[in-house]
Structures are given as structure tokens and as C-alpha cells.
Amino acid sequence: MRGEAGVTEGRPVRRRFAIVARYALLTVLAAIVLFPVYMAVVGSLLKTEQITSRPPTMLPTHPTWDSYSTAWSAGHLATYLRNSAIVAVIITCGQVVTAILAGYAFAFLEFPFRRTLFVVFIATLMVPFEVTIITNLNTIVSLHWYNTYAGLTVPFLATGFGAFLLRQAFLGIPRDLQDAAALDGYGHLRFMTRVAVPLARPAIAALAVFGFLSAWNQYLWPLLITKNDQLRTVQIGLRQLRATSIEQVNVTLAGVVLAALPLVVLLVVFQKQLVRGLTAGAVKG
């Protein structure tokens, strides 16, 4: 027994080394993943004259927040963020409501052509949005929705994916509950709002987070459909910011940080819903 003191006391040396090695590898990889973000944050805190200094500044010793205020007001970031928020919220609400309605019909109601209609819903997943922009642009212009919130949001108020997701969630609700509710004199609308929707909350939350994320990140459509800063979303705003301030990289980077921040907060709060939405949402393609 005596010779083994080194083994019996505390963690064995070799195992400890293996653990340190694992942490080291993970930390290096984490640093690589975070590096671009780190550089963006550092860059946003620099003074204009520091930007082109070589070697590049890796640590902001005298951080300045000037570029943030420039980006916020002169760069219209405040307006862009507001527009993005409005657009994303409208789209999210629309998607959730239409998905609940359609999902409920497919899960709980019997009607002629149910299967056919469901196939139609699924078929929408096969058509990339890029394929439809030509005519959609015409449609929006002739509806006088060009450069309006309506133009930015209405085409996205319903998704086949959302209906599919909620149908699945509703199908998971025991039939007995519906029978019990029917005995209690609940009609369909009351059953939907009082029982089905509360029970499907996880799926609804996942859909909402996923919908918000995709709406917030849209690029092609807002680029096509907006023409001035009053309506531009933050993604297009970044493009404008970069174009107008080529010499002011710090302001552009401040804009990037401001544009990303809301999502960082959202995702920290709704991490679980996001993961559920993404893994289900990847189906959408």
C-alpha cells in the first residue's frame, strides 16, 4: 500500500494532465470562434486614427464610445433597429396566429380535402423565397406597398413550417382532453384558446423565436422593397452605414455590435426555445 501514496491521494497526475489538455483545446477553439466578434468589439471602441495603426490594436486601452453615438444617431441605427423590431414582431405574431389556426384545423377537425390541403401547405416549403421575388415585387408595387411595413411583412405572415410544427404539437394533446372539454360544453374556439394553445406553448415559443430570428435576419427582400432610411431594417442599415463611412470603420463596427446585441439578448433568454426551433426548423430548409 505504501508505495502508492501518489495514486491514492487526490487526482492521479496523468488524469489531471489529460483534463488540462482538454480545457486547453476547448479554450483555443473558443478563442478562434470568438475572434471575429472580439475584433469587431475592439474596433468599435477605437478612435479613428487608431484604426489604421500597425500593428493593429488588440486591446482597447483608451476605449471611446463616440462611434456608438455616431452610429446611433448620424448613422440612423436607432431608426433601423426600430424598423427591424417592428417588422420582426409583426411577422412573428402573424406567423404564430396563422400557424395556430391552421395547425388546429389539421389536428382537430375533419373536413373534405384535409390531406390535399396539408400537402399544399407542405409544398410551400419546397419553394425558396428567392424564386418568387420577381412577381412579388410587382405585386407589392401594384398594391402600393412598396417601401411600407406592409410590403416588408405581409408576404411572410404565414408559413407551412409553422402550421406543420403546431399540428404536430396539437396531435400530442390527448384526445380525452378534447372529449372532456366537449362534455363541459366547450366549443372549438374555446377549446383552442383555453386548452390547446396553452398546452402547445413550448412549440409556439419555438416557432416564435425561430420566426423572429429569420425575420430579423432577412436581407434580400428588405433590400428590394425599401428605398429610404425611414423604412430600412438594420441588416440593410449596416450596408448603408458601411457605404457612407468607408473611412470610419469604428462607426461601422459599432453599428454591427448594436445590430447583433438584441439577438444576443434574445438568445440568452430563449436559448432552449431557440434550440428546439432550430432543430425543428432545419426541416424547413
Binding site: 495514486v7 491514492t8 488524469r15
Partner: protein, 376 residues
Amino acid sequence: MTEAARGDVDVDGAGIAVSLREVTKTYDNGVMALGPIDLQVRKGELVSLLGPSGCGKSTALRIIAGLEAPTSGTVRIGSRVVNDVEAKDRDVSMVFQTYALYPHMSVQRNIEFPLKSRGMPRDERATRVREAARGLGLEGLLDRKPAQLSGGQRQRVALARAIVRRPAAFLMDEPLSNLDAKLRVQTRAELIELHRRLAATVVYVTHDQVEAMTMGDRIAILDRGVLQQIGPPQAVYDEPANLFVAQFIGSPSMNTIGARVVADSEAVAVELPGARIMLPAPTGAAVARAGADDVVLGVRPEHVRIDGGQLPATVSVVESLGHERHVVCRLDDGTMVIVREAADASPARAGDAVGLSVPSEHLHVFDAGSGRRVAV
């Protein structure tokens, strides 16, 4: 740790297949799951690790396997200290409760995998797999995937995968608990046979005492991470080291009756609700030596008789199992005493006032405070 709780094998290590010395385990969340425990398993021996849910059985097994690192203590396989050895390099194999068969591999490939991992040449692998499959009656199933097998067949594939390597020790974590009752009894017998045929060293985790008693050369009883007793099944049954073991082993479990020690110059007696029992001389001496005032008397149901004895009781329920009968009685203070008697014994009926007798040679005496066995 009591004497009885220590592994009763020499320390020098000859003939020992698996040994745990002063092993403890505290999980990251602060749960102290184990120990310190000492356990030696001899070569060719089957030791059952028995205990209630959450007592640390799986933890102990996983520490032996190398899936979990002990917080302190020494683990040996054979004479080699393996604390620092990864699971894959320890010479053990394991059968999991859920079998853990690779769902994407055929039965053949499942059984072959441990050999392949160790770089055994193809021909030798084929021979070994064939042998193992024959031994377990799996020849016809080699091309199937696990999903196409019944529960019992899956279990046998898991066994085949474990034996094909001929390891220094087999570790089994409740391998029968996913089988239905009938299959479980049958497989139990097959396992015992296999153990004998291969002269295999087995550490067998179970929470089923019948399984532990019938299979184990010795059984080790754990409670809350602490080894309570280790020994041959009959010895543990006959002389439980403490109240926990006494009540855990045996079904229906041992009756326990609180009692006061009354000692006069000649003899030691115990006072029960409604009666006083003289203790036989050696027992009495031991009780007197222990100096306890309050004790708990234990007596197995098959040793209590309804024969107009001195202990007054009322029959409350009679359960008939066909071949035997359990008569549930209550003493004056409400303590429950179960009497196990032959089905053809004179029938007692619920409500009857009866007198029970307890042969003093079958009386177990435990210290009421520590729960430890006092006598002899």
C-alpha cells in the same frame, strides 16, 4: 466500519481479481455516492452487489470499469493498480441494464467489436465469435440487427459481447431487470451455468435479493454508499450484521420488536410488549457485555409459531399463497409480526387472539441505537 463489513479476504492480493481499497466517490454536484468502501473479489467468484435504489451500486461498478474516477482510494484489477488506466485498457467487460447494443451493427459485428478494437486478426475473431454465439444459442441470429431481436435475445447478445473477450472480470449492472418474470428466472439459471463453465469472475449488481442470494457466491450489501456486510448468502441470512441487512434480506422481511433489557444476577431477559423472554446464556452474556438498555429483537417469519406461546397477539390479516400462509399479527402495542406457516397448519382467522412463541435460538438482538448486531 464493522469487522463483518470488511471484505474477508487476505490483503496480499494473490487470487484476487478485483479489489477496491478505501474507495470514495463524490460527484461534482456534491453527492457523496460512495464509501469509503473495501471490496475484494476472488478469481472465479461471483459477488452480488445488493442494495436499495440509489445506494451506489452502479457507481461502484462504474468505478471498477473505469467509467467513473474514484474521488479517493485504490482500484485494482488482478494485482495491477488501475486508477490511472482508461476503461478501454482495463481488462473487464460489462453488461448494461439496457444492453447497450450498437443498433447499427449486426449481432455478428456487435459481438466482434471488442475483439476488433483490440486488433485481433480476422480468423481468430471469427472463431471466437462463433464459439461465443454457440455457447449462447445465437448462431441463427448473427445477421440480424438488435432491433430485430426479442428482449431475451438482446440480453444474450450483450452477454456474448462480454464473454467473447475472456476478460479478467465481468461487470453486470442489473442485466436481468428488463426481462419479464419468467425469462428472468430462466436466464438467471443460464447465467449461473455460464459463470461456472467459464470460471468467470463476476461483479453482479442487482436490487433483487432473490437474484443476489441465488447467484452470488458472496453477496455484498450496500446502503447509502456504505458497505453493510459481505459474505456467503446463507451466512448473511443467518447472521445479519445489522438491522438494515436483517430487514433487506429475506421475504417477507424479518420481524423487529423493540424491547428493554432486564438483567438480574443470574440471567438476562428482554421485556417485550406483553411478555418477557429469557435470553440463552451466550446471547445474554453478549447483551450484558454490550451494556445496552434498549434493543431491537429480530425474528424471521418462519421462526415464529402460533402455538399459544407467551407473546399475546391479535391476528389482523391472513394471506394465503397456496403453498404457504402469511399470518399478520399485531402485538399489544401495535407492532406488526408476520408469521410464515405451512398451508396445512391449523388455520388462524382474522380477529383471533393468539399466543406466539419465538424460539430463543432464532432470536437476533440488535442495538437499538446503532442498529448493530449485538449477540454472539
